[in-house]
Symmetry: D2
Subunit: 254 residues, 4 copies
């Protein structure tokens, strides 16, 4: 039986690509996303066509008990979850404070912070019993610095990072690897950046950033690093790291 | 008419003491807390007995519209809010992940993060119209590092800090001073630390930390610094600072 | 006998202004700078004309034994040093790596890092015997993030900050207050920024930043904060804080 | 011709092990260390015995022109340097301020900060001409927080980190990957930790940390991560990451 890699937020960018990569390495990829059943099925078929194992789950992470049931179902029907890729985003675009509704602020938190807490609450006790497990958390620049218009996003991502440090403090000594990966730049992802910009502007950005598009973070290269993190020996674990394109300014520069 | 200093979380520790101090400096202190009407009335009387101006409000910050109405009422009945001291804590004690309920996790966020967002949403537009205002936010070590058992608290406080940076980015250029004050140590506060430890253990700690209790952070000294922050000229504002007793280890040391 | 405030780097910006302020509060200000004897004498006379106490010392901090002798002479001839304002800058302007000579890199370190180590080595044992003392260290954005062209400056200032944390860890429990003050923006200082820009460009910047020049950090307002730090009660000390004008972006924003 | 991996500080811990690993991956490893010619020769022979390419250089990095000549000689005699592993340590053990001589403080800086500057000054222009190169810098907890007794070490390592950020800001857009790797825990390294503790105490620590010694950071596992960093695609580079054993507290916890 293949070990299971559970991916939350398995769109056409980092999430789906990482899931594909883990499937290639022998994991059963359980790919979860909120919408676009067609896209999800295509991703699953794609993996299976390359002799990989995958299943797809459409679910709304912020609804009650969805994540809790997802973990229970996966463990029962697919197998023990060895790796979780927590890739739910909560970027709602820049909004001034007065344009940020209480509802939007809360939704960001439910997606970025509370969902991780619920997922971890469901899966960490199981990993603890098995004495091992990996929790790879995609994070954003907003986790380490607030910015104009980022009230909801930064508050939620800042919470995510502190939660990761707290999870790490409790579970690292029990053999569970929690890694917070700061994606500090634009990702070449049609489902998120592409939709935010629209097709023309997205294509223009890709061309402007270089023929190989390597001025944008490439999801398949992110997958290399996620796989490396999942393979790190427990004597030598990374808890926090950043990723950005060579041509981008790190968040601390201007 | 005195300028107004609105204090959220005006117990017998930092909040009430800072309120008293601003009243002494000529502000009308509007002191808000969730419970202990008697204690609140005593604090108000105490200020008035020294010729200061104060009013007390009992309110539950996490309930719908309480903070929004508080701001509206204060502006209408007392006067323009010049300084907000946001002093709501969300320390629920160390709890392992499996002992941290979804409810507790959410409550921490409602207290530490969402309340600040709601308060800022209500008061910042008014301050913006007036071209000035000060928002002093008491924060905790958990805002900058997660720790074992601090899942809920650290996630909420990390969100608080990133929200402060986002508020600062939007409102500092508009003349509103947002300061995030990291209280990095035990405070000589009977209402919080005292209740957490119980009277005997609290007294023992005070004695162990020195005859003048200066091994604990003294609320009246915190008030000195809060007042200084509120008086800083806008050419020279502090956004982030820490406070701890000389005898305490900073959070980054061990 | 007045307590002594020793200022390293007492030019017409932060250093001299802070010295003046401490003199006004009853300290004997010992003002040290490398050059401009005339300016130094004028500053001393200015303080004395307001019934303050001051003396001036011309010295090159990077030369052997200058700082060590300064501390010894001051203690013997003026009195116990209660406050040190360490205000030596090491900004050499942006230079590409290949334009940064080994000599320039080393000089930055001698000014920004090694001088602080030497000064602290001379004065902290004396403060330790007296069970009190304050070391206020002016620092720069380069202490917390490197930037293009800042190889020498950032390396030196990063060292300064880590040294401050190390000094704090050893000496705070012994009653010595070490504060690292991050000056995160342009200072309205004719001796440093003024010389770097030249008189016309400096004046243009001042005008562009507002009639009251409050878009630049004002040295006299910095002095308010330095004085506050020196007066903080040891129960409630700040080790790190930032200062910038309301109109400036914090270093973490863009 | 094999690409060249230049290792500074190639002892029996991280440096030598990383060099071995790069040799195995097809690099010519140029291994440099200050002393123990025998150990160095053994390491070179060991690599060659496994059909790898390696050469050894004994040199004192803090002496004038050693690093500059090393780069020139390597480029001329071995080939273009593609990867630098900068692994010079500067840990002198905990010393109180008064036990930290000016000489020791300066030596730490020469090793940890200035040597990196000199090495980068020599090699970055060559890498820039070739449009690529990798600079992997081993760093220590002291780069991000000062601690009691760490005056010299923290000042030097803090400088190292800020220098890495400055190098990254200038050279990342030119295709040169600079990574700062925070080794945040004890390494299972006989040459450094072993010598510091002595053979008996070192063995006791290894046994206490687990039969597989995985409570200590294992150099061969560090090599996995260094290799991964060197292989990261330039669209997706890590500039800062940490490494520690699962059983160790991160520096921000206690």
């Amino acid at each position: 039986m293949n070990p299971v890699c559970l991916v939350l937020g398995a769109g056409a960018g980092i999430g789906g690509t990482v899931g594909k990569r883990f499937a290639k390495e022998g994991y059963h990829a359980v790919l979860c996303r909120r919408s676009d059943e067609e896209g999800l099925n295509a991703l699953v078929s794609d993996i299976q066509a390359s002799s990989g194992e995958a299943s797809g789950v459409l679910l709304n992470a912020v609804e009650d008990d969805t994540l809790e049931q997802l973990v229970a179902n996966t463990e029962r029907e697919v197998g023990p979850i060895e790796v979780v890729v927590f890739n739910l985003g909560a970027q709602i675009g820049d909004r001034r404070l007065q344009d940020t509704s209480r509802k939007a602020f809360e939704l960001c938190w439910r997606l970025a912070t509370f969902s991780l807490f619920r997922l971890a609450s469901a899966v960490c006790p199981l990993m603890e019993q098995r004495g091992k497990g990996t929790l790879l958390v995609t994070s954003a620049t907003a986790a380490v610095r607030g910015n104009a218009g980022q009230h909801a996003h930064a508050a939620a991502m800042g919470g995510r990072r502190m939660l990761c440090q707290s999870l790490n403090a409790e579970f690292s000594p029990k053999g569970i690897h929690v890694a917070h990966v700061l994606i500090d730049g634009a990702v070449d992802a049609p489902d998120t950046l592409g939709k935010m910009l629209g097709p023309d502007q997205f294509q223009a950005l890709r061309e402007q950033r270089g023929m190989e598009h390597d001025g944008l973070i490439l999801p398949e290269k992110v997958a290399d690093t996620y796989l490396h993190l999942a393979q790190q020996h427990r004597s030598t674990w990374t808890h926090e790291m950043d990723l950005r394109s060579f041509g981008d300014h790190p968040w601390w520069n201007h």
